[in-house]
């Protein structure tokens, strides 16, 4: 990849780490380590993950969000990640883009959830400019692409923040059957089920074009420096234990029990 060297107008430096097919749990562990132990800005792009995996937010309750019996029957892994937000099912058709930044990396950006989301919205607006029928709609605090092709979430510490997005470049319709309609959903969702609510990005843009356009958009905000996975591991402290984890089958079984108990009471 050609990294532009021509613009150095006081832009903050960001290390660009391009991955392909890295398992999502490994990606989440890397992100959390970089958030907590690195002092650099990072942009991580992971082009697909190997196996279909369900990823819940930090407070996700399996009994409310998941069709657990199907998940156990089909042996689908379920991860609880370290960031907030909703539930996604990811696979080789998902493209992940993550920003891990110091709080002062982006001039004028307060490290609170809405400003960070607004900033990312503007960045991705550049990526999708002129592509298909996507329209950016401002809806008060929340904004929505219609239809939706991504899920995003964040984690904010005292001095840094991480914003990660899962883009549905492609997906298996059958996989959406593992997810329930969330109880708490933004108004724009209007109680639509997953298949009505989302669409495939591949119908609008090629995989490589999306990634290239994203890198170009990042390059308009930061001075890009390519990095390798080994570089990321070198900067990491050895004592840090990431909190994203795979839920055990026993825990999922207990969630079914809780669900049955709640419905009977």
């Amino acid at each position: 990849m050609a990294v532009s060297q021509t613009r150095d107008l006081g832009l903050p430096l960001i290390k660009l780490l391009r991955l392909k097919g890295v398992p999502i749990l490994q990606q989440l562990h890397l992100e959390e380590r970089l958030l907590r132990t690195s002092s650099d800005n990072w942009c991580i792009i992971n082009d697909g993950t190997i196996d279909p995996t369900i990823v819940m937010g930090i407070s996700g309750k399996p009994q409310e969000l998941l069709e657990i019996e199907s998940i156990l029957r089909d042996d689908i892994p379920v991860i609880r990640r370290f960031t907030g937000g909703g539930t996604v099912i990811v696979d080789q058709g998902t493209i992940f883009v993550t920003f891990i930044c110091n709080k002062d990396a982006v001039p004028g950006l307060q490290s609170y959830p809405q400003p960070i989301m607004s900033w990312s919205s503007l960045l991705y607006k550049k990526v999708f400019q002129g592509i298909g029928d996507f329209r950016l709609r401002e809806n008060g605090i929340l904004r929505a692409w219609r239809p939706q092709v991504w899920r995003e979430c964040e984690s904010i510490t005292k001095n840094r923040w991480v914003h990660h997005t899962s883009f549905l470049w492609d997906y298996e319709i059958s996989n959406m059957g593992y997810l329930k309609l969330p109880k708490r959903a933004p108004e724009y969702r209007q109680a639509r089920d997953h298949l009505e609510f989302i669409c495939r990005m591949k119908d609008y843009i090629s995989r490589s074009s999306f990634i290239d356009r994203t890198i170009e958009a990042v390059g308009s905000e930061f001075l890009l420096r390519s990095a390798e996975l080994e570089d990321a591991h070198c900067t990491l402290g050895s004592k840090f234990e990431p909190s994203s984890r795979l839920l055990r089958k026993q825990e999922l079984g207990e969630a079914i029990f809780k669900s049955l108990t709640a419905s009977q009471s």
């Binding site: 937010g57 930090i58 407070s59 370290f82 960031t83 907030g84 937000g85 909703g86 982006v106 001039p107 004028g108 950006l109 307060q110 609170y112 959830p113 809405q114 400003p115 960070i116 989301m117 607004s118 900033w119 503007l122 008060g140 605090i141 929340l142 995003e152 979430c153 964040e154 984690s155 904010i156 510490t157 005292k158 708490r184 905000e221």
Partner: protein
């Protein structure tokens, strides 16, 4: 390019209150056009927007009205267990709001002696009552002199104004 983060560029005029109750002028949570954040006298404040109220052998800790306003609706709170140690400036838990988790950092060091268990069922208390019902933990301070390094109400008010003005 100067980014205009309209959600936080709305001016936050801060009002000091000498009573323990919330200012009547404080706008309800989630309001887009929020104009006041409450800062209480008699509390101490950290630059990461936590407050501490020292009362005899125990100090109570929570997040400020300014913080809850910027975070948005709190949907989940992760708090430590009783008996756990906390240290000044380091994370002791997290709040989840609109798609984000944010660390909560302890303004002082000590041992957790009580946790607000109501927050597990009613995390929104942090939005509706950040200085009273939304308290998070009570700590037995191990180094009471740490309180002197924290900001008083007027200083914290100015800090918030400067922080909002710089963005």
């Amino acid at each position: 390019m100067a980014l205009r983060m309209w959600a936080s560029s709305t001016a936050n005029a801060l009002k000091l209150s000498t009573s323990a109750s919330r200012s009547a002028l404080a706008s309800p949570a989630f309001s887009l056009a929020r104009s006041f954040s409450t800062v209480l006298e008699g509390f101490k404040y950290a630059s990461s927007h936590e407050w501490v109220k020292h009362d005899g052998p125990v100090a109570t800790i929570g997040i400020t009205d300014h913080a809850q306003d910027h975070l948005g609706e709190v949907v989940f709170v992760e708090l430590p267990e009783e008996g756990k140690s906390v240290s000044q400036g380091n994370s002791f838990g997290a709040v989840e709001s609109v798609k984000a988790t944010s660390d909560i950092n302890s303004p002082i060091s000590g041992e957790v002696v009580e946790v607000n268990t109501k927050l597990s069922e009613s995390p929104g208390l942090i939005n509706s009552s950040p200085y009273e019902d939304g308290w998070m933990i009570k700590v037995k301070p191990s180094n009471p002199s740490e309180l002197e390094s924290l900001m008083g109400a007027k200083e914290y008010t100015k800090f918030c104004e400067e922080e909002d003005a710089s963005h």
